[in-house]
Symmetry: C2
Subunit: 384 residues, 2 copies
């Protein structure tokens, strides 16, 4: 475990559940990505963790920002970011949000349909806009579905229309899905975007940017490819399709930057044995051990939905004999189960009242947390 966080937890013994984030680790990952992809500009995906200390550190490092809402734009400005360094990357924006962001100096907006383009033309006249393409999300542990992006054919029409509406249609984007573990997915998506890029340039558009989205994975329970492997795949694909005339290139990492900088400290509320899944309620011979933590799906670990993201768990008994467990949160909600089918094993000695740590929980935890489901207060956060 991160030694700085381990010291903090040992010395301070903060009330649980809480999230502790090592801001130096955030910097380390930022620099690592910058080194791996020197030609790309980093737009940190604020939604992954919008805490002020994280944003301030990234501002100091020269990062740009990908905001999902006017509120996130505000947070970036408050942290000292220049409005020119902010992209409003959500393709679904209220008119009031577009107006506020544009008034604050933001001039870069995502879109993927005619209706959003109309709103941008009226409320952000002349702004730089980029169209999001729908690409395959195979290989992603947290795919992004059909909610975003459009076809190459439709994007072509949209980009030409954007010019006619007085906007500056300067680029294309895609997203291969979050926690993407297959480098080939970027190569395929780049090829798809490059074809359209070339086509639009030939049609006379001043197109000059490719936004590769985010998706770079954090190591959870399973190994993932190193960032250099993604960088190599991306570099190869960009060179293949654009040669030396590389467009301005953007990446929008969130999880990769903050994921492994965070640790959740949690108390074991209860350890008990229950009838095996599928067994009749009266069949008490066969049982499974349940471990209930004081954080669950509604306390911040929303990405355990469908057991998608599998966090590593540290206990005071690591190294001793293990046994299978189901792991659940503390609420009265039957859906508040973290892992029941993912073959988690925890020490047989683990008991209620003890503390465990969930590793690599810096991304998509603090903000997913419910306001007070079952009365529980939101997750406490410590940035060190």
């Amino acid at each position: 475990m991160n030694p700085k966080i381990a010291s903090f937890l040992a010395d301070r013994i903060p009330a649980t559940p809480c999230l502790v984030v090592d801001v130096d680790q955030v910097e380390l990952r930022y620099c690592e990505l910058e080194a791996a992809l020197p030609l790309a500009r980093i737009y940190y995906a604020v939604k992954a963790n919008p805490a002020l200390p994280v944003l301030q550190r990234l501002v100091a490092l020269g990062s740009c920002f990908d905001a999902a809402s006017w509120e996130e734009v505000s947070m970036c400005l408050e942290a000292g970011a220049d409005s020119s360094a902010i992209s409003f990357g959500n393709t679904i924006k209220k008119v009031s949000a577009i107006t506020s962001a544009y008034a604050a100096g933001v001039s870069m907006f995502a879109f993927d349909c005619d209706e959003e383009l109309d709103k941008l033309a009226i409320h952000a006249p002349g702004a730089r806009v980029y169209c999001r393409l729908l690409v395959e999300n195979a290989g992603a542990d947290w795919p992004l579905s059909r909610k975003f992006g459009t076809s190459v054919e439709h994007a072509r029409a949209l980009m030409l229309r954007a010019r006619d509406l007085g906007l500056d249609p300067f680029g294309l984007s895609f997203h291969v899905g979050s926690q993407q573990t297959d480098t080939a997915s970027y190569e395929a998506a780049i090829g798809r975007a490059a074809m359209l890029f070339t086509d639009l340039a030939a049609a006379g558009l001043d197109i000059r940017m490719i936004n590769l989205g985010g998706g770079f994975p954090t190591r959870y329970r399973d190994d993932v490819p190193e960032i250099d492997q993604f960088a190599t795949a991306i570099g190869r694909a960009m060179t293949k399709h654009f040669g030396n005339a590389l467009p301005e290139t953007i990446v929008e990492p969130g999880r990769f930057i903050v994921g492994d900088a965070g640790v959740v400290s949690s108390e074991v509320v209860l350890v008990s044995r229950r009838a095996l899944p599928g067994a009749l309620p009266d069949d008490a011979q066969e049982s499974v051990r349940w471990v209930y933590l004081d954080i669950g799906r509604f306390g911040g670990l929303a990405e355990t939905e469908g057991e998608s993201i599998k966090y590593q768990i540290r206990t005071p008994h690591d190294g001793s004999a293990l046994g299978p467990v189901a792991i659940a949160g503390p609420t009265c909600d039957g859906a508040d189960i973290l892992y029941e089918r993912s073959n988690y094993r925890l020490p047989l000695d683990l008991a209620s009242g003890e503390r465990v740590e969930l590793l690599s929980t810096g991304a998509y935890v603090s903000t997913y947390c419910s306001t007070r489901f079952n009365g529980f207060a939101p997750l406490a956060e410590h940035y060190i």
Copy 2:
């Protein structure tokens, strides 16, 4: 739609998204349930909606309360409830929560395993405890899984052990699942609990309470049985198994009391057309209309997970021509989709910027809401 809420929305035009709850409607439902089940004592499931005006009204009506956490116990006390009217119904409790509740005068606790019984014996000596049985949840739109409850055989051993530990093992409970639409599920569960009840009484235990849990449904998009039908089924089963010697009977309604007292007002952020599910991204011929609201799964509508709870939606164009839609929330999260496969149809004229209402959203909405996912503020609440 509820006329009082309709007037409030028309007159005040509150910022969206927001939840408006008619507290008089809460009272109406409470009284309806009391009339239907005159022999049962009502323990309102605070987790369904812990707003102070709701709790205060229920205190005034003489309701008891089912709390899921020490924090919910506190909310009830703050609203004026007597500690003797509070049941700590979560079977998973921190020692600190048991201690605080017991010190505040709460003397009624749920359990379903040996480990929790041990905690109660130490930290709530002499308390009344009741054991939760695992029963079938078929027929429930929001089932409660294998996370709670134990077998009849194990419950028997636990109840006898509770007595040996100096506790007062006074009852049994079960939960047939939330939004339960099959009256027969109560009959089956009562039969199961009654057998054990009789057995334990014969073994000399001073057992005297049956807790039927909650689960009574709210009308969402589909019709559900009237509360009288549940009351009839419950009354018949209780009489069949207990004759005239009815035990103290408890119900724990949450959704039934507050569900249809609430309306969410939401703004349409975007209406767009996208390639049909399953179609290749380039296949632009076939498309589906997407309606994006300013509230989604992470803004409070968590029970749309798996499209389980299907809210009715009102629009300014009701009565005009309808067409199929997919409905999604405003965040950049691909999982933030409300309905894609549930055959929702909305007016073809619906446009971005207009307001819609989601009916019967008084339960399990305000507290599920995330603290600030994608930067969005928690759902505003108005109690009228």
